[in-house]
């Protein structure tokens, strides 16, 4: 089992550009969540996708958007990049079961905006 995989691992973009990050969930998982982690902080919830729809959204602007594909993989898109968007972007996969379910994280994508 490859676990959760993210690509790319590192990315450098210029302010104002757009970026797409990708995530493949752990085998058997149907829910993908995205988190942003600034240096020295805990991960902050961006949004969650299940059955190809955004189920819940954190306190992030509309510049952040996403998509889930029929194979459960997901993309995170960020438009009009700001310097403050520099962070580690984490993808987590889980099962949409009724009880508390563990989320398993990928290794993250380090985004640097210059």
């Amino acid at each position: 089992d490859a676990g959760v995989t993210q690509s790319p691992t590192h990315l450098i973009k210029t302010r104002g550009q757009q970026v797409t990050l990708r995530c493949s969930p752990k085998s058997g998982h149907d829910t993908v969540s995205w988190y942003q982690q600034a240096l020295g902080q805990g991960p902050q919830f961006i949004f969650q996708y299940y059955e190809e729809e955004e189920r819940q959204r954190g306190n992030f602007p509309d510049r952040f958007s996403g998509h889930q594909f029929p194979n459960y993989s997901s993309e995170l898109n960020v438009n009009a990049l700001l310097l403050g968007d520099s962070a580690l972007y984490l993808c987590a996969s889980s099962l949409a079961a009724g009880g508390a379910t563990e989320a398993f994280f990928g290794q993250g994508t380090r985004l640097t905006v210059v």
């Binding site: 020295g40 902080q41 991960p43 508390a100 989320a103």
Partner: protein, 111 residues
């Protein structure tokens, strides 16, 4: 709004010196409390899930406990390889599996 506060922010331990990390939380209804370990530049690695007050779980030198207001992660006789940031997160009953994280406890174990 769900809130998680972890203390201390940073901790330096001598190898073999046991200690505890604290995670206090406020949540409308707790579905689960999670502990993760994160190494620099890597994604969080799942350690434990705790569901109800009084529950305890162990893994090697780590033991997690839960009360109605806080959780503790006890590190017994730590080794240098236990150096990491330990993250605590809560999942609310109405949260659709989203996790609310604390800032983490950065632990350094000195040989």
């Amino acid at each position: 709004e769900d809130q998680v506060t972890q203390s201390p922010e940073a901790l330096r331990l001598q190898e073999g010196e046991s200690s505890s990390l604290n995670c206090s939380y406020t949540v409308s209804g707790l579905r689960g409390l999670f502990w993760y370990r994160q190494d620099p530049g890597k994604g969080p690695e799942f350690l434990f899930t705790l569901y109800s007050a009084g529950e305890e779980k162990e893994k090697e030198r780590l033991k997690a406990t839960l009360t109605k207001k806080e959780s503790f992660l006890h590190i017994t006789a730590p080794k240098p390889e236990d150096s990491a940031t330990y993250l605590c997160a809560v999942q609310a009953t109405l949260g659709n599996n989203r996790l609310a994280f604390g800032k983490g406890n950065q632990v350094v174990v000195i040989p």
